[in-house]
């Protein structure tokens, strides 16, 4: 069997496994609930926006501020739900499936372990990317139609958000090669939490102009590039905001990135390749 055909067969196997899990239905229900609540929040915020009057000497664009804040909040929720999906789709792909005896009948087939792992990655990444893009664009449309505010850049933040979730898929897959399912799930969520904290620290570091905090945050963004991509996605939704509005948005918590642009995108792509290569190398030597 040609490796390309095998990839599709196994990716399809992984996809069927994903959509048949109860967790998938739970995530879908939570997502619909989130989108409903998000629409309600937009409705009330923008309907009361005319009643908010900043002091005369403070020149803040309240519509941009509210729209960007709500969209930033939605992006955090989208990434979080995407990460939940990514982790649950991949946390037991190797260790868990091997323990349950699901993996061995597949591994002894002539497709090869690297192909098997790559296919499982593509299957999970496909589901996660589709999910993140769908939810992200749904929230953008909700804010746009309800509040008549649109991000400065619409497509790229969604792509970066999806890229961030794909990084988590790869990390979780690597974890599944070396850890048991539960340990892997805990480890990936801890990494995700550490990345978010590092991002917030970066915002604080820049507000206080603390060199050491800024450096720590930059290192964290490169060590855990899903955080760098998420921050860059936030930056791009208010890329053109200036003056006091731009400054307030930069203060966060859904502020802009301090590591951004093509540097972090290229780094993330390389990081993804290295994580998958390490996972494949370990998996190829693993006793099952």
């Amino acid at each position: 069997m040609r490796p390309i055909s095998a990839v599709w067969v196994i990716a399809g196997y992984g996809f069927r496994e994903a959509v048949r899990r109860k967790m998938f239905a739970v995530v879908l229900i939570l997502t619909l609930l989130f989108l409903l609540l998000y629409w309600l929040a937009n409705h009330f915020v923008f309907s009361q926006l005319s009643g908010i009057t900043p002091p005369a000497d403070v020149n803040v664009d309240t519509r941009t501020f509210a729209g960007a804040f709500l969209t930033g909040l939605a992006m955090f929720a989208t990434l979080f739900l995407g990460v939940v999906l990514a982790v649950f789709l991949t946390l037991g792909v190797v260790g868990g499936d091997a323990e349950r005896g699901l993996l061995q009948p597949l591994v002894v087939r002539p497709v090869g372990r690297t192909t098997l792992l790559l296919a499982r990655f593509l299957g999970a990444a496909g589901v996660v990317v589709a999910y993140v893009l769908l939810v992200y664009f749904a929230t953008v449309v909700i804010t746009g139609l309800t509040g008549h505010w649109w991000p400065d850049r619409v497509a790229w933040p969604g792509i970066e958000l999806a890229g961030a979730a794909v990084e988590v898929v790869a990390l979780s897959l690597l974890g599944s090669v070396v850890l048991a399912s539960t340990a892997n799930g805990i480890a990936v969520f801890m990494l995700f939490g550490a990345g978010l904290v590092a991002g917030l620290l970066g915002t604080i570091g820049h507000a206080l102009n603390s060199h050491s905090v800024k450096t720590a945050s930059t290192i964290a963004s490169y060590a855990l590039p899903f955080e760098g991509l998420y921050q860059d996605a936030l930056r791009m939704i208010t890329e053109n905001a200036s003056g006091l509005t731009g400054f307030l948005l930069q203060l966060g918590p859904f502020g802009g990135a301090y590591v951004h642009g093509w540097g972090i995108r290229v780094w993330s792509a390389g990081y993804l390749v290295v994580v998958l290569a390490v996972a494949a190398a370990i998996f190829n030597r693993k006793s099952l």
Partner: protein, 280 residues
């Protein structure tokens, strides 16, 4: 024609534990070899190395002439693990279709129907795996291992979950496979089963081969049993060659002979002798 499985001086160490200590073993074309030994003897490790699931520390294992674990070796074998599971949402037919695709089999629906018939699951063709009994799932596992007409079949405890009828089905299946030239390495604790179907038996203990040979070669003579009008008499130490003489002597002595039976040790006795009565 290379052996279906050729193992030379195979060693496997897990840290300080020697799972295999230089095992030599061959399974020829169409040969059915039984692997016996107590738990921890190294049987499953040997089967897993042949299947490419575990790497040997040293030595060599070749499947149909190809290094175990390589793509050609994996293409030449079928494997049923001791502890296996299939996704519950697949029907029997869908599962075989998945494995046909992974094995590159071109057998299509005809192969799937034939395999399901072979393991007596034709009526369960559209039944989901999670609706199957343990025995049915085990038989489906055997059908899955046979996808793509492998040259070598590695079966790790294939009858552990089967009832006597299911075990008989598997036994008949193994005999049929042997007739078709498929080689089988059968790892089982069921001595009677091994004795019934296997051409050769290999007994492992502590990672070493302690006994190997055909069941009838391993069996030791235990005497001859003679049934006459005076009752049943066992002549210890007598062999098959002594039987005609013993019958003639009894007839000459005026006895009516109703039966004569050459006694040999069973595989169970051979096994217990080889492993020194060692259990789990």
């Amino acid at each position: 024609m290379p052996d279906a499985l050729a193992v030379r001086n195979l060693q496997k160490r897990y840290g300080a534990v020697h799972a295999l200590r230089g095992v030599d073993l061959t399974v020829g074309e169409g040969e059915l070899v039984g692997l016996l030994g107590p738990n921890g003897a190294g049987k499953s490790t040997l089967v897993k190395i042949a299947a490419g699931l575990v790497r040997a520390t040293s030595g060599e294992a070749r499947v149909a002439g190809a290094r175990a674990g390589s793509r050609p070796a994996r293409a030449a074998l079928g494997y049923l693990a001791e502890l296996f599971r299939f996704p519950g949402w697949y029907t029997a037919d869908e599962l075989l279709l998945l494995h046909q695709r992974l094995a590159g089999s071109t057998g299509g629906a005809a192969e799937r129907a034939r395999l399901l018939e072979l393991v007596a699951l034709t009526d369960a063709r559209n039944r989901r795996v999670d609706a199957m009994s343990k025995g049915m799932a085990q038989r489906l596992g055997i059908a899955q291992a046979l996808v793509g007409e492998p040259k070598l079949l590695l079966l790790d405890e294939p009858t552990s979950a089967l009832d006597p009828v299911g075990r008989r089905t598997v036994r008949l299946l193994l005999e049929e496979l042997r007739g078709r030239g498929v080689s089988v390495l059968l790892n089982s604790h069921l001595l009677s089963e091994i004795e019934l179907v296997c051409d050769r038996v290999v007994i492992l203990l502590g990672g070493d081969v302690v006994t190997a040979g055909a069941p009838h070669e391993l069996a030791r003579p235990r005497g001859v049993e003679l049934e006459t009008d005076a009752g049943v008499q066992t002549i210890a130490g007598a062999t098959r060659e002594d039987a005609p003489r013993l019958v003639a002597e009894a007839v000459a002595a005026g006895r009516r002979v109703y039966g004569v039976r050459v006694l040999t040790s069973t595989l169970e006795e051979v096994y217990l002798e080889a492993v020194g009565g060692e259990t789990d």
